[in-house]
Amino acid sequence: MLEVTNLSHTYQRGGVVHTAIDGVTFTVADGELVSIVGPSGSGKTTLLRCIGGLLTPTSGSIVLDDVPVRQVPDGLAVVFQDYSRSLYPWLTAVDNVALPLRRKPLRRAQRRGAALAALATVGLADSADRYPWQLSGGMQQRVAIARALACDPVLLLMDEPFGSVDAQTREDLEDLILRVSRSRGIMILMVTHDIDESVYVGDRVIVLTRGPGRVRAELLTGLPEPHDQIKTRELPAFVRLRAQVGRLVRGSPPAPDGSGRQEGHADHS
C-alpha cells in the first residue's frame, strides 16, 4: 500500500520560488490502478518524482508498504513519457529489459530468461534482438513497460506514458496496462492529461487543481470488467464520469448528479 500524506514541494532556483504541490494526500491500495489527472502546471510530474524518491519533498510523507520513502525505494519501476530517450540505443530490446535485473544476483541466462518473459507479456518476444531505433514508437514504449515489469515491482509509476504515440497504439497500450494490472496485482500510478484515458484505465481517478497542486477530487470509476475500448466508452456511466472529471479539471463546479454514482466520491475542493 502507498500512503501519501500532506505532500508539498517548493522549488527554489536562483531567487524564484515556485510551489508545485501543496498538501497532497491520498492512498493507493494493493493491486489498484490510479490515474492522476489535472490541468498543466498542477505539479503532476513533481508529485510522481517525489513518490519515486527522485526528489525530496519539502514537507509531507510517503510510505510504501510501511517503509518511508527517502530515496528511490526497492520495488519501484518507472515508465517515462519519452521512450526514445529512456531506452539505451546501444542495447538491444532484451538487453534493455534485462538491465535493471543486473542489480539482482542472477546469472546471465536467468536474466535473459526473465527479460524474454517480460517481452512476451507485452507481445514483443520476436523483437528481442532488435535495437530501439528499429522499432516503432509504440513498440519502444512496450519495451519500456517490459523493462519496468521485468524486475517484479511493487509500485509502477507512469508519467504520461502514452502521450507520444498515435491514437491506435495508445488504445492498445491502455489495454495492455489494464491486463498487467489485473494479472499481476501491482500498484500502478499513472499520470495523464487525457481525461478519457484516466477514466477508462483507472480504478480511481485523482484530480489535481491548478498549481500549486492539491487533490481536488477522487472518483471511483467502478466500470464493469472487462474494459473494452468501444463498449466501455459507450456506457452512460463512462460518459457521466468523463464529464465529471472534465469539469473538475477545468475548475468549474461539478454538475449535480442525478444517479447514484456518488460512492467513494470525495470532493476536497
Binding site: 510530474t45 518524482r49 527522485l54 518507472v78 517515462f80 519519452d82
Partner: protein, 275 residues
C-alpha cells in the same frame, strides 16, 4: 518525468561563475605546487627536470631577452602569413568542391592520398627545395593547415538549408549569388571552426620547422629552442620557451575566437538566446 536541464549546466549566475574561476585557479596552483614539491623532495631529479618555479622564473624573464622577443614576433608573423594564405587557398577551393559535385568526386582520390601524409615529413624535402627563410615555414604551414579549412568549408556547404537556397533561386538569383548570399554566410561558423583547428596545426608546423632546421632558417621560437637545446643546461630555457609557446597558442586561439564572434555577430548561432 523529464528532469529538464539540471542545475549543473553552464553556470549562469555570478556566484557560480566565480566558484568555477576559483576552482580553476586552485587547480592550477595545486598542480604547480605538487610539481614543485616533487622537485624539492628529489622525487624528480633536478638535473633531469628543473623545478617548476625555476622554469616559471625563467619564463617571466624571457621577454627581457631581445632575441626571444624577435623570435616570438617571427613565429607570430609566420603563423599569420601562413594562415592568411591557407584561407585564401582553402576557402575558395572548398567552395568549388562543395558546390560542384563533379569536381568533388574527381578529386576525391587525390585528396585521400595527400591528406594522410604527415606534414612534418615534408620538412626535410621542403628544406632542400626551398632553402631557408619565411617561405619554407609558410609553405609547410599552408600544406598542413589547408585540410581542416577545406573540409570544414565543404561540410559547412553540405549543411546549408536547401529551402533557403531554393527560395533565392525561385526569385531568379543565379548560382553564384546563392553562394554569396546564402551558402557562404550559412557555412561561416563551420569555416571559422576550421580556421581555429588550422591555427593550432599551423603553430605546430611553425615551431616544429624551427626546431628541426635551426637558426639558419631564420628567427622563431623553434630556432630559439634549437639553440637552447645545444647549449649546456638548456633545459630550463627550453621549458620556459615551451610555457610561452603554450601562452602563444592560447592567445592566438582567443584572438581567433574574438574575431569570429565579431565577424559573425549577425549569425543566429551567436545570438544571446543561444548562449
Amino acid at each position: 518525468m523529464n528532469p529538464g536541464t539540471s542545475v549543473r549546466d553552464s553556470p549562469r549566475t555570478g556566484k557560480a561563475r566565480a566558484a568555477t574561476w576559483a576552482r580553476g585557479l586552485a587547480g592550477v596552483a595545486g598542480f604547480l605546487l605538487l610539481l614543485q614539491a616533487a622537485s624539492w623532495l628529489k622525487i624528480i631529479s633536478p638535473s633531469l627536470l628543473p623545478p617548476v618555479f625555476t622554469v616559471l622564473a625563467r619564463a617571466a624573464g624571457l621577454p627581457g631577452n631581445g632575441q626571444f622577443l624577435g623570435d616570438l614576433a617571427a613565429t607570430v608573423q609566420a603563423w599569420a602569413v601562413g594562415l592568411a594564405v591557407t584561407i585564401a587557398v582553402a576557402v575558395p577551393a572548398g567552395l568549388v568542391l562543395g558546390s560542384v559535385p563533379l569536381v568533388r568526386s574527381a578529386t576525391r582520390a587525390l585528396i585521400e592520398f595527400l591528406r594522410p601524409i604527415p606534414s612534418v615529413s615534408l620538412i626535410p624535402l621542403a628544406a632542400l627545395l626551398l632553402g631557408a627563410g619565411l617561405r619554407l615555414t609558410v609553405t609547410l604551414i599552408v600544406y598542413a593547415a589547408v585540410w581542416p579549412v577545406l573540409f570544414n568549408t565543404i561540410y559547412g556547404l553540405d549543411d546549408v538549408d536547401p529551402a533557403a537556397k531554393d527560395t533565392l533561386r525561385a526569385f531568379g538569383f543565379g548560382r553564384l549569388d546563392v553562394l554569396r548570399r546564402v551558402s557562404l554566410p550559412s557555412a561561416a561558423p563551420f569555416i571559422a571552426t576550421g580556421i581555429r583547428l588550422a591555427s593550432s596545426v599551423a603553430l605546430i608546423l611553425d615551431i616544429g620547422t624551427g626546431i628541426l632546421t635551426g637558426r639558419i632558417d631564420g628567427p622563431g621560437i623553434g630556432a630559439f629552442i634549437a639553440d637552447a637545446n645545444t647549449g649546456a643546461n638548456g633545459t630550463p630555457i627550453v621549458l620556459a620557451a615551451t610555457v610561452w609557446a603554450g601562452i602563444l597558442g592560447i592567445s592566438l586561439n582567443a584572438l581567433l575566437v574574438w574575431a569570429e564572434r565579431r565577424a559573425l555577430r549577425w549569425h543566429h548561432a551567436y545570438s544571446v538566446e543561444a548562449r
